[in-house]
Amino acid sequence: MPPIISLNKVSKIFKAKKKTKGFVNSLKSVLKPNYQEFKAVNNISFQAEKGEIIGFIGPNGAGKSTTIKMMTGILHQTIGEIKVLGYNPQKDRKELAMHVGTVFGQKPQLWYHLPAIDTFDLFSKIYEIPEEIYKKRLKKLIKTFEVQSFINTPVRQLSLGQRMRLEIMASLLHNPKVIFLDEPTIGLDIVVKKKIRALIKKLNKEQQTTIILTSHDMEDVETLCKRLIIINQGEIVFDGPTKDIKERYLNKKRLTVILSKKIKEIKLPGAKTMFKGDYKHGLEVDTSKHSIQKVIQKLTSKYAIEDINIQDPPIEEIIEEIFKGKKV
């Protein structure tokens, strides 16, 4: 079977007007604009098979969204070849759209003043879903997403978590074979994030839907994606199993500790000091060597703790690490 998505040496070059300093130069640039080219996406190739969930990660401006927009036909690549479900997104945007679902976490598609059910009804017409099939599917999705209680409430009155569930649901009505999820968990709290992850997983399992997911949250990627593509400055720097990255780079947790008494430095076996203040201290724990649970136990027994916060290192640092690793 041919791959569901295939990108072959794809680049996207943007031209931007070069802004120059000073009034005279500004005037000159009006008459004769100076264009500067930059490569948002540089010679990338990869393929996705049916039923895969691929994590597509990278820092801001790395080219993730640009790549997604090219795969959905919104943007056209400068060179290279893209095939999604056998379609050429550049030429067959509308035909492709019939089989593809998209969620842009920061760009809502539900009508703000109307209940979500109205948008769903409209989408059923836009995607030309036969009435009976639509009704069946809607019923099932309502149950899976647990949205019965607020599907008839105007969207503006809903919480972000409720809204995001409906947003994702809206992109599933036409039973797409491929789904692009661009930051679907952005701004959500842990509980809702977990719920959304579980939904995505279920969907993938039941329907064998191919999913491309971008996120800033490493936890999204860790729990959902077996395969990871890391993109930086428009180039793919890693394409492989998530567990490889996890073993090598996702083995650190950051603790921010606030103490109730002034202390110069927290000294604990297994914890490296990141920064120290009077009350606020930062620690890093290598979880491949020490259990985070034990470190915290020791910490709480030894020091008077006011507050504690556990985080993953930011994605930018992980990518930096990967680069370092490559050079060595």
């Binding site: 801001n60 927009k69 959905t72 919104i74 759209a97 593809v100 836009i126 030309e128």
Partner: protein
């Protein structure tokens, strides 16, 4: 069926209008105020209300203005709204749907526009009936006038859509939008019928599409002839076809060349 999609978009958009009731109401009141000012202004100019200026009596002049105002202001801040969608990158969520983007925008805005047109016209008509009196016109002309008004609104939309897409190059369409609305106000004949202009300006204006948004349909309204209707309607269709073609060409170009804002 593909066409039913657009009908449903128009339908849902109509329901959405009711979320902005206060806005529509305020808009109609504002236009009412403008019409009231013009009633007073023209009453001063027409010292004797039975006299006609360039073929227009006072009653004709005010009813003319009620219709042009209702058509021209019916889209509200369309260029701003469409422009925001482009600038914020929200257009991306629209382009991933299986429909024609321009037709989508048209369906979404036409119902809003018709709603605003109707409310403005009612407010204007009530004021005019009270202060000036009824217009002498034949009921049989109504369907033709409605057709011409629909064509005018469509042409108005096409021009504003064209301006909005220019944001892809200019990054800001406020200046062009401002210029366009003033052109429709003056050259399009929203404030004054072309008869009042010097001949050279009137003949230029009659050759441009803007007068087919305001002057020509309103002229039909106050002094109807079937012959004029066909001339006006065919020219309106001609301009709509030209502007749609321009929109289409520009849109194709944008999609292939220009970047989408907002990551």
């Amino acid at each position: 069926m593909t066409i039913t999609k657009y009908f449903h978009i128009a339908k849902i958009s109509m329901r959405n209008v009711f979320a902005y009731k206060a806005d529509v109401f305020a808009h109609s009141l504002f236009i009412g105020l403008i019409i009231f000012i013009f009633i007073n202004l023209w009453q001063v100019i027409f010292i004797d209300p039975n006299n006609a200026i360039e073929g227009f009596t006072l009653t004709m002049m005010i009813w003319y203005l009620v219709l042009t105002e209702s058509i021209v202001t019916s889209f509200g801040r369309l260029v701003e709204d469409m422009g925001n969608e482009i600038q914020s990158g929200e257009i991306a969520t629209k382009l991933t749907k299986p429909y024609n983007y321009l037709l989508f925008q048209y369906s979404q805005n036409i119902s809003k526009s018709l709603f605003r047109f109707t409310t403005t016209f009612i407010v204007g008509a009530l004021l005019t009936l009270y202060f000036v009196g009824p217009l002498n016109f034949s009921l049989t002309s109504i369907p033709f006038i409605i057709i011409s008004v629909l064509a005018a609104i469509t042409l108005h939309f096409c021009l504003m859509a064209l301006i909005s897409t220019s944001i892809f190059w200019l990054e800001e369409a406020k200046a062009i939008d401002f210029l366009y609305s003033k052109i429709v106000f003056i050259i399009g004949g929203m404030f004054f019928p072309l008869e009042i202009f010097p001949d050279w300006l009137a003949s230029i204006s009659a050759k441009l599409p803007f007068s087919y948004i305001a002057y020509f349909p309103a002229k039909l309204f106050v002094s109807f002839s079937l012959n004029d209707f066909f001339k006006v309607f065919l020219t309106q269709l001609f301009w709509i076809a030209v502007i749609i073609t321009l929109n289409y060409v520009m849109y194709k170009f944008i999609i292939s060349k220009v970047q989408i804002h907002g990551g």
